[in-house]
Symmetry: C2
Subunit: 374 residues, 2 copies
């Protein structure tokens, strides 16, 4: 059900009800531009991942800065984005199940739709549904380049699937999905680069094999916020799927940059805004944001801009803070900004972005694909 927004446009930030999901528009726009410029400079397409933001307004802003379209993971996410005006969506995932595939095929009549496969029977099911819907689907073979999640092995298994796609009536072979997801959060810069070097090697062999069989890979697509510069300069990948760069999160902040320096080319722009609701004893406070306000799967949120105040525990609706009572004082009603441990599942807990500039609410953006699991 859609909940009422926690703010009105024009309100001062400190009037916003909490917990609220805040976008710092200046930081957010700087992140959008930086990635757009980086991909243009590298001569590769940008297709940002909308599973991060689930918001058609943000997708359209990314496209306005040069992105060719967006990615998502679920058919129902694609539906929400297409309804919101996005004309080109790649579902970077396998879609299994009659009902889901029928929805996907129907959507391909409205917009350019791509999908990934790692199974021959699934190709047949997609082809039947697309033909029945009078639509054409772009289909990419997902190759496992090190993440060991979905995908076929590089080389011959990928070739076998590509041939089936190319032979199908209502499918277009569109290339390779070669996302090395498990590399994104490798802390060490050189290890992270080595993981992508291995992915590039595996993907490159597969592209070459397909080429020998007259199967051209229009897209060699993948990359995330942790590694996109490696894929961008690989000479092989021609499309980047980074998503988290728009917001950053506490987990990505722990990556190291080159030479062990900070991983800081993007700024934290997404915050859980929260209120101190209890000050039970000196040095301890409780805020109104817990597990239902900030996903802890990749670690607890961190407190923004208040050194010495630590978020040390979350229960369903409460967050526990500790601090040195001699140095810091927190009172009932005080507001804090938390940096989520992991932005994607945190965004999925909210219906609205509260967009803030210069201390005022400038816009409320609906998170149209929140809860779009199907």
């Amino acid at each position: 059900m859609t909940v009422r927004p926690p703010a009105d446009v024009g309100m001062c930030l400190d009037e916003v009800d909490t917990p609220a999901l805040i976008i710092d528009l200046d930081a957010f726009e700087a992140n959008l531009s930086r990635m757009a410029n980086a991909s243009q400079a590298a001569g590769v397409r940008l297709r940002p991942h909308a599973k991060t933001h689930k918001c058609a307004i943000i997708a359209l802003r990314q496209i306005a800065l040069g992105a060719v379209g967006v990615c998502c993971q679920k058919v129902s996410e694609a539906e929400a984005l297409v309804q919101g005006g996005v004309r080109d969506v790649l579902v970077t995932n396998e879609i299994v199940g009659k009902r889901k595939i029928a929805h996907l095929a129907a959507l391909a009549r409205e917009a350019t739709l791509g999908v990934c496969v790692d199974d021959a029977d699934n190709i047949a099911a997609l082809d039947s549904a697309a033909a029945a819907a009078g639509a054409t689907l772009d289909v990419l073979v997902e190759v496992d380049v090190g993440a060991h999640r979905c995908g076929v092995a590089p080389g011959a298994p990928a070739l076998a699937l590509a041939r089936r796609i190319a032979a199908a009536r209502a499918l277009r072979f569109a290339g390779l999905q070669v996302y090395q997801g498990s590399a994104q959060h490798i802390r060490d810069f050189d290890e992270r680069r080595a993981a992508i070097d291995a992915a590039v090697e595996a993907a490159g062999q597969t592209v070459a094999l397909l080429s020998e069989h007259d199967l051209a890979c229009r897209s060699v697509t993948g990359a995330g916020t942790g590694t996109f510069r490696f894929e961008a300069s690989s000479g092989l990948y021609n499309e980047l799927q980074a998503g988290s760069y728009i917001f950053m999160d506490a987990d990505y902040a722990q990556n190291h940059g080159e030479g062990g320096g900070p991983f800081d080319e993007f700024q934290h722009s997404l915050f859980v805004y929260t209120t101190v609701m209890s000050t039970p004893e000196p040095g301890r406070a409780v805020v109104d944001a817990g597990l239902k306000a900030s996903s802890v799967d990749s670690g607890l949120p961190t407190v923004h801009g208040m050194p010495g105040v630590d978020f040390v525990g979350a229960s369903d609706e409460h967050g526990k803070l500790v601090f040195d009572a001699g140095e810091t004082s927190l009172s009932l009603g005080d507001r804090l900004k938390l940096i989520p441990g992991h932005c994607d599942p945190t965004v999925n807990l909210y219906d609205w972005y509260v967009c803030v500039r210069d201390g005022r609410v400038q816009a409320l953006w609906p998170i149209v694909a929140r809860g779009a699991l199907l």
Copy 2:
């Protein structure tokens, strides 16, 4: 935004789109009855916690079986429940912030509303808002009986707040909130009982002190699914707030019963229904339910009814299964039921319960307070 339901009423279970949140109605109804009977037999009121289910239909079924009302944690949850027909709601939490308090006071004109406090200024703010709204709020003093989250210390600090409430214009002193939340998941039965014994001791001293000052505690309320039998037989608590008993989850299943036996008086009735979307190699499968479909804050989900198949990892939209390929075979499109690690934050990810009996969808219940964070 409200997403489309994953099922239609009358459908067979295996036609339901996934991931979907399934209620096994037989198990669920057995749980409802068992707790209703247990509280009646013990002669204590039942006020189940609706933060677990966030659903007015379930609240009304609990009330039909004898519950005096429900609990929740947020003003916006209370609003959704009152809109759904619930007439008596206790917010077992401190409510801080002008906007929230104004909403709470307005709601107290529509239904019996209770709220907890642990701060004198907060009492004054509640009183002003209730008076301005022409409403009366029931107010309980939250006493920290061992959870070390919110609440004042037992004894004199609680008395001081109770006196302020009793002296307020638009507030009614309603008793003590004495929930020992950190005891609920102590695995060992005797240690769990000892934690509640200590809570009963602290609560009892406070009740006696208040009584000496002519402050009667209409409610001495608390307890959860892990400990409710101890509070019910304490001779002190007169109201139980258990919530998770209706569904159970993988975390509660790890508690021990008396003498080290299983903690099994309630059945698992809530499942994340999921589809195998990739079978990349023998002994490994990927399902379409990840972090956005099942909260992992208290551990990964477990696979129901398939011994030897282990859920070993979740990313945003994927779950990884491993199994012995010699003993088990999983194919693309196969359906599984997952028992969530933690039911409350998992429910908060969905808009609909798909209620199933005898293999068919019997009802779709809206989760009206999903995302009600304010």
